[in-house]
Subunit: 378 residues, 2 copies
């Protein structure tokens, strides 16, 4: 194998596939990045067995030659070292040559690196996924869907299926739900050409977080293919594979209350900042619980109290306050994350008493629903 | 005590004094920041017993009122909590009121924080330093002097005096020296009105690093007063006190060679980048040693070798190469830090054989001298 490539493009590609490489892997070959060079271009593959990312750099793009291939071939190079070497090379022209088995030279300017590569035939093959039942979501919408749900997955492995986001396809709608059993985030999205033969899968939260880092804020479509054990996200240059979580995701629809006793409309940003301030003192007690109380005259009070340090109180004018008066306590962290997912708009908060779960949504639409279980303190 | 202050100015002041506050202190009152309000303004003090930083915010500045004082007084507030509260207050107008002993209210907009303060009379007094024997250095020059020397102090406490930088006053010249016994950095600066009664003190490296963060890149003079146990740096608004290290600093002048066998003039930036690349492989072996060899035709070769990973070689054209040919090995880290201190200029490197210390200086002047002990590998 021997070829020349533009360093900047190689770095961009490495930047994507490095996100799948873990230093903690127990499979030695997966500490490496696989390079495949054909007459069409260069393919880079990185994997931690759960996530696999593949990116392709064509020989030519928009009339500009990116790669000059003398001899096609494949090699696996130690990922972290290869990435750092490419990052520090002195010129934008990189020559990579494999000879005598897996001996690899990386040359640029007057630098000559010699790395001992690994056998590319030992690298695991990608799952075969038929592309015939795909649907697509614009990249920016997909990023929003991830951002609005993935924070609510469980971090503990005690119920592994809760560490993922449940993607449910139901009558032209994609319904994404995440819960750690203390709070829940749900996002409904109307889409066209959804597959009818898949109804419910669970995608690991970690995979969605990595995917979110790779996707750009563009409206370009991301093709999605769901099989029994894998999901594939595909944009112009990157293939992102993730395994799915096994096990039945709980039916969460029954948890969401439908009758309410107190309805409040409030500016989400003001509430977020007040909770953030109150949590300064709440954090000291480690439980991070703040109190929320309705007062006369369309006012709510946020407060918290840490006996050894002090306390804080803050009143906020609300747009509307209907129904029973209320005193309730909840996790400042959960509330702030829910408000951030709704993203600074005016929000409606609907309560069914101090001991029952309450829900938040935007005043503008029902696409996003956030549910939080209160904490007993009164 | 009761006063109103502009939040931005309070934050600036806190930002400075927080650098002296350590969460690891064994003296409980030093987890706090002392606030003293007089008719002239507000003084903030933070300390970890080694370093003390004091900043002053005047009632009025350039015709703008910064503080409105209703009642002078003093209080100590838990530093981290107070700083975070002020950072998150909703408006730029902050009211601070102390009543009933040390009960402190911090109000802004509709937020009302209530903190339990500490007794200000328990806060340690500042050392008394007579300001009559001061000299001054422009802030940007002082920052350069710190940056060019402090990195070379010892990090191990086995010889505590080496964890500081030796400031020596000798015939209108300030000579600053740091060494960890494997390498040495020396900076000479001609100054006027140096005190004649102090000749040599050792300032802790940690103090100089913190001072460097506080000083701005301006040409404003920083007043310096050195006593037997303390040094004070003073600019317009900030007083920075540091204790001095006890013990005799070794006489390093005899370590610096004066006769050389090989003299090389080379572009500092090219050499730095080549060493950086070579250290990628050198690091894997944990010793981080690179090899440096003179070749024919005004060329030097930088190389390193890590048997399990690979090797790297790079040739650099030098401006001049005089004297004996040379093969030498040294720590990539020490070499890179020395070259960074000389700051990208052309450098002269002077060797006295592969086993003897070598020195680096700028081609332009002798103000900065860096010395490195080689490592035996050949």
């Amino acid at each position: 194998m021997k070829f020349d490539i533009m360093r900047d493009r190689l770095l961009d590609g490495l930047n994507d596939v490095m996100k799948a490489v873990s230093s903690k892997t127990t499979i030695p070959i997966l500490t490496g990045i696989k390079i495949d060079v054909t007459d069409e271009g260069m393919r880079l593959t990185g994997s931690d067995a759960d996530i696999t990312i593949q990116t392709f750099i064509p020989v030519e793009e928009n009339g500009e030659q990116l790669i000059n291939i003398s001899e096609p071939g494949s090699i696996v190079l130690q990922a972290r070292m290869f990435n750092e070497i490419v990052r520090k090379l002195p010129t934008n022209d990189v020559e990579i040559e494999v000879s005598n088995g897996f001996q690899t030279h990386i040359r640029s300017g007057k630098s000559d690196f010699h790395l001992i590569g690994l056998d590319p035939t030992e690298y695991p093959l990608l799952p075969e996924i038929a592309m015939d039942r795909q649907f697509s979501i614009p990249a920016d919408l997909l990023k929003a869907i991830i951002r609005e749900t993935v924070f609510a997955v469980a971090t503990s492995e005690s119920r592994p299926v809760l560490t993922g986001v449940n993607w449910n396809i139901h009558e032209e709608e994609l319904i994404c739900v995440a819960t750690d059993s203390h709070r829940l985030a749900r996002r409904k999205t109307k889409l066209e050409q959804l597959p009818s033969d898949v109804s419910s899968v669970v995608i690991p939260g970690k995979s969605l977080n990595e995917l979110n880092k790779i996707l750009g804020e563009s409206t370009e479509p991301v093709q999605i293919v769901i099989t029994n054990q894998q999901v594939l996200f595909k944009d112009e240059n990157v293939l992102f594979f993730s395994r799915l979580l096994e096990g039945n995701y709980p039916d969460t629809s029954r948890l969401i209350p439908e009758d309410f006793k107190t309805n409040i409309t409030i500016n989400g940003k003001s509430l977020l900042q007040a909770i953030d301030r109150a949590s300064l003192l709440a954090r000291e007690d480690r439980n991070n619980v703040v109190k929320f109380e309705t007062l006369e005259g369309n006012v709510v009070e946020i407060s918290s109290n840490s006996p050894e340090i002090g306390k804080v109180e803050e009143q906020i004018q609300v747009q509307s306050l209907e129904g029973e008066s209320l005193k309730i306590s909840f996790s400042a962290k959960y509330m702030m994350e829910a408000l951030k997912a709704i993203d600074g708009q005016d929000v409606v908060i609907q309560f069914t008493g101090a001991m029952r779960p309450f829900i938040l949504r935007s005043v503008h639409d029902d696409a996003i629903l956030q549910l939080i279980l209160p904490v007993r303190t009164y």
